[in-house]
Subunit: 247 residues, 2 copies
Amino acid sequence: MNPTDALARISIVLSRTSHPGNIGSAARAMKTMGLSRLVLVSPKSFPHPEAETLASGAGDLLAQARVVETLDEALADCTYSLAVSARARDLGPEPMLAREGALNLISEVQAGAEVALVFGNETAGLSNEEIQRCQGAVMIAANPAYSSLNLAAAVQVLAYELRVAAFEGAPVVESKSTPFASVPATHGEQEGFYGHLEQVMVETGFLDPAQPRRLMPKLRRLFGRARLEKDEVNILRGILTATQTRR
Amino acid sequence: MNPTDALARISIVLSRTSHPGNIGSAARAMKTMGLSRLVLVSPKSFPHPEAETLASGAGDLLAQARVVETLDEALADCTYSLAVSARARDLGPEPMLAREGALNLISEVQAGAEVALVFGNETAGLSNEEIQRCQGAVMIAANPAYSSLNLAAAVQVLAYELRVAAFEGAPVVESKSTPFASVPATHGEQEGFYGHLEQVMVETGFLDPAQPRRLMPKLRRLFGRARLEKDEVNILRGILTATQTRR
């Protein structure tokens, strides 16, 4: 795939954006770097004239933007998504730096994956729940005394790194050597597994919903690191079902 | 010189800026990357409330900004300045890319030079006369069909590259590990888990020892990829035990 096509396949997901102007500025930032797929999760005000104004020549991205209710909808078809985070979170995946994150996203796209980069609300960022729904996290190294990048500025930096990575030739994802490797599990398949796992833990009394002890975040971190494949999700759910039916 | 001091010595020169809001946004972009020296050449409106608003927490940079009449005044003490240009000019120096330009600026600062990065007017950019007053030119690689970065967005990208260049060779993020990451599981702990998992699969009838269907190799591949930690093995074995005792 040529670099231009690779960039055009990356989804930029903006979750719960408060200011429509920031959506417009983000669209402009995307288009300057050749990105075009914009997904908005529950934007506070969209469409909005201020978004159009600040998009400048990137109004086409706003017109084509997909607007959804939840992050799960936004990521349903993705196999690799990175959450943009200003800091490491207790419960989320360990963040990589912007350059490494961009190289990973381009490698995945070049290997045929559906990928997304997810930005949170201007004030609150992404919630822990949102971050845990992504396969990884990425952060922009910033001044520790003032790390508050404007939303569109963060989109600009990462879009820029994506463009550089796409054109400088990102390393191709190494082909999996084991004969039984399967395709990556989609977001929906992974969430189905997590839901099933939690159900079994509750049924067996291992997980007390009143005292969850961070068990699910820890397990999401473990399986997120492994980048679950479709066959593996099937096996894991098969084991879970077997423990349920034989009880 | 440490990276933080190097960044603090770089001047960002904004020439003939039309919109005071862009001056504020540029100051914010600078401060997020640890830059602090702002020089304004004949700004159309400054000081201005809109600059203050958009600077957000970077109002100190506006308060300390040096305002001058001409680019020559701005660059008087500099030995190395780079003009930011959206394209190659007939009469100017051959532009280098942002990453190379940032590395050159940091190298010069580390060698004791006074350096500057010069941005032009929002609409017209830098004039040929201005570009020729600089030692070199730098451009941000962009979408040829739409290369119109907002002024503050261009400042953000170059400030980001300066920060990365300044910290190259030194860790930019102090610690990447999440607070509840635990030590790696030993070989024995991992084998204990695999044995326990296999036992549960056999007990529940999911794994038929006579027809093992490569289940264990597939699961070993999955968990091996994740590089299991000690706490994670404990959680996983806890789940397995819970399914056994409640059956």
